[in-house]
Symmetry: C2
Subunit: 482 residues, 2 copies
């Protein structure tokens, strides 16, 4: 970005923030709450205009709020220290933020040891006897890694995409001219869209998912933790992952190439990796242990984040990864900084009355609606509003809390609207070729032109809606979510 | 470390921790407090035996305490989540921990831009007309960088030591055989010992200093913040830095080499660096701004950590360092993890009654003493007990809280004992050639043999005691600290 454009973008964010900050504070909102809203809106806007990375803008936002003592009332004797203590405790002391940090740290070991790559190759060799099988193998790899690699970019773009690319090149006999064939299109699209389904399935499937979980807690008083998230996504998610290749095959009609070579390539790469190392076996054990503990949380009560920290400690004590290498996993600290700041702002917005005020007013704006119709309408608007965003994370941050508030205001079943928004937050990434890291990476490999990607993306989005509404709605009814 | 030795070390830590954990809980201490003490002692012991890096052991300690619900009482309905929330909020949500993290992030930019190196070279060129002048230049570089580079290893070992080494090589005409001469010894010893004086002078001069500050707060109710710390250290610190080369010249008797070449070398290196870049000018501005705000905190009330975060944000927004590079500063996150966990344990020890219990009992153990005699005796024991440790950080963590508690128990003036232990925590690093990172690095350059380093180190320790007691005590009396 040119310095000029950067400064203009930054000025727009500041201007919007200042406009809110200095406008009259509505009744029912505290002045502090209003100021948090101003900085929150400016921060979210900066995620869209992107003058700087998210970490920079979140730290700037925190600094402004602390310097203006926006977290403490006027009677405070040490306003600077108290405002800072509030900001830090609610951000970098938050349990959900540390779930993501821990999962990031674990995924670093999964990537460094090659265990993630091995999982993908094993599944592709296992399932890849046909074109459909290859695609299912890719989806299965995404599914297994989903809970443990919370950067969907690291999972899709870092682990799976290079393998898919290598399969496609093998299928084209490494002939650059033959690379853009129908089978490659099929596999590339499967990789990209499967990544979004697994991102939707797990609280730890995408770095910004905890934002939805936090908003559910703060706005709708809904505890949408790891198990709840997964219990709602498991059925439509698995069906979606299974049918995605079938649907894409209809659209792309892959033909003319025998995929045996691809499976052979996966097999060769696996052979080249040799036997499972001690470290990979330990990681497999950690995966099984963590997933078991996560899914049985209601029996033993160990918090999801504690389980994840346990995984981190096992990895460190067994020497699968040493602390020095783990501390170098900068993606974890990046996520901690931006996610922590946003989580803190979400908490402050509720604590200072902004959410209640917004929800109260939303009732008036939206008027009388059948709650279920309103819920579905809001969910669909949320889904397709992604066209106006360049990034899933920005979309989630900008919209999700407000949409939950409006929906609850018009009487939507809280769990239903949270579930719809949680899953749609990731599935809507199917719409464009620039919605999130792995999509950008798959698209950037150059197998598919932008217009075609957009067209197929739109059809895949309808496919998602059919499954997640057609099967999801009855299923969630069964769960008692509405 | 061999796996065998590693497991034995770990087993010793676990055994000691378990012995405390399962021994009868003394009256006046809660069971939770006793468990925190057990894990705290095992963690500190692990810093000395070092089966794993500090980050690994601290995370393990936190995990054990959270899994055993040691931070919540039995009535808690969600003990796992509440224990985790307590642990995270008191560690990674702590304001002092983030002072160190922010300073680490700033020092990353100081190193990356070469600004730290330039400061050192400028001061050496400015002052280095004689042997003494060269040494003062080295001390001045340490002094200027002291407040901003909280890893004394990064400051001494990373910025200053390579320059000192290069000066020494120049003085020996790059002749390996002539490298170990008296002038080199003089400069190397100055570099190592000046680093310890500046580490003692600033709360942000050494990564573990906040442990002292936190212990002062928790144990003696003394607010030993950046300004208080510096107001007590500025007079003996500056005198010590000024006289150190004079004292070392007496011991080493550097002679026979004209130092003009060294100053010329510094000058050449400066010329090679070219003019101050825009980024360096901005960093200079950040230094001046931060130091001004830190030292005038009582006028404007902005918390030290908020000022440091301001420095971070300025560096990011001006592009002196971008967020991606800053997030890669793993030393900052390493420090956050271990320092945060220890700070949390210190808080828990007080909140659960362990500190009060220890201090009450210490009175009985120590018996009746003149409080001032006892204070000095404790401070000296603390100082020379460093001989039994291999690392300043381990020494501080193991001893400082207990020593403050005992001293306060026998009626020591709280500010005085805190000051003595704070400064001695770093100055005692003079005793050995392996006490802390930069000392290890200077020693490891091979200019001085171990027996000689130990002998001179002992004499330097006496030099420190003469200054910090002979001048420090009357000066702190003037400040009203006793």
């Amino acid at each position: 970005m040119s310095p000029m454009r950067r400064w203009i973008s930054l000025a727009i964010c500041l201007a919007v923030g200042a406009a809110i900050w200095f406008s009259p504070v509505p009744e029912g909102v505290t002045e502090n709450g209003w100021h948090v809203l101003a900085v929150f809106v400016a921060t979210i806007l900066s995620f869209i205009l992107r003058p700087y990375p998210m970490g920079t803008m979140v730290l700037t936002g925190i600094l402004i709020l602390v310097l203006t003592h926006s977290f403490v009332d006027e009677t405070s004797e040490k306003p600077s220290k108290e405002a800072l203590a509030y900001a830090l405790a609610k951000s970098y002391g938050d349990t959900t933020v540390w779930l993501v940090v821990a999962a990031f740290l674990i995924s670093g070991a999964v990537i460094q040891t090659g265990f993630g790559k091995r999982i993908a190759l094993v599944l592709i060799r296992l399932l890849g006897r046909t074109k459909l099988g290859l695609a299912w193998g890719i989806g299965a790899a995404e599914l297994v890694l989903g809970p443990f690699v919370p950067s969907n970019t690291a999972r899709g773009g870092g682990i799976v995409a290079p393998i898919v690319d290598s399969l496609c090149r093998t299928l084209a006999n490494n002939d650059e001219g033959k690379r853009r064939n129908s089978v490659s299109s099929f596999l590339i699209l499967t990789g990209a869209h499967a990544n979004l389904i697994t991102a939707a399935m797990f609280l730890t499937g995408m770095a910004a998912n905890p934002i939805v979980s936090k908003a559910a807690d703060e706005v709708a008083d809904v505890n949408f933790d790891f198990v709840t998230w997964l219990s709602g996504s498991i059925v439509p998610g698995l069906i979606g992952l299974f049918l995605l290749p079938v649907f894409l095959r209809m659209l792309v009609k892959p033909s003319g190439i025998d995929v045996g070579a691809a499976r052979g390539k996966a097999s060769d790469e696996l052979d080249a990796m040799g036997k499972m190392t001690r470290n990979e076996w330990i990681l497999l054990g950690v995966f099984v242990l963590m997933l078991s503990l996560w899914c049985t949380a209601r029996l033993h009560g160990i918090h999801t984040t504690v389980v994840a920290l346990g995984g981190v400690v096992i990895i460190l004590l067994t020497g699968v990864q040493n602390w020095k290498d783990m501390a170098k996993n900068h993606a974890a600290w990046d996520a901690m900084i931006w996610l922590g700041g946003l989580v803190m702002m979400a908490v402050a917005l509720r604590e200072f009355g902004v959410i209640t005020w917004f929800a109260e007013n939303a009732k008036g704006w939206v008027g009388e609606f059948n709650p279920l119709t309103a819920t579905l309408a809001l969910a669909l608007i949320y889904f397709f509003s992604m066209y106006a965003f360049s990034m899933l994370t920005g979309h989630i941050n900008a919209m999700v809390a407000a949409f939950i508030a409006v929906a609850v205001g018009v009487g939507a079943p809280p769990l239903l609207i949270v579930a719809l928004l949680a899953y749609f937050s990731n599935l809507c990434g199917s719409l464009t070729h620039y919605s999130t890291g792995p999509v950008v990476i798959y698209f950037g490999m150059g197998y598919i032109e932008a217009p075609r990607w957009l067209k197929i993306g739109f059809l895949v989005s309808l496919f998602h809606l059919v499954i997640w509404l057609g099967i999801g709605l009855p299923y969630w009814k069964l769960l008692g979510w509405w």
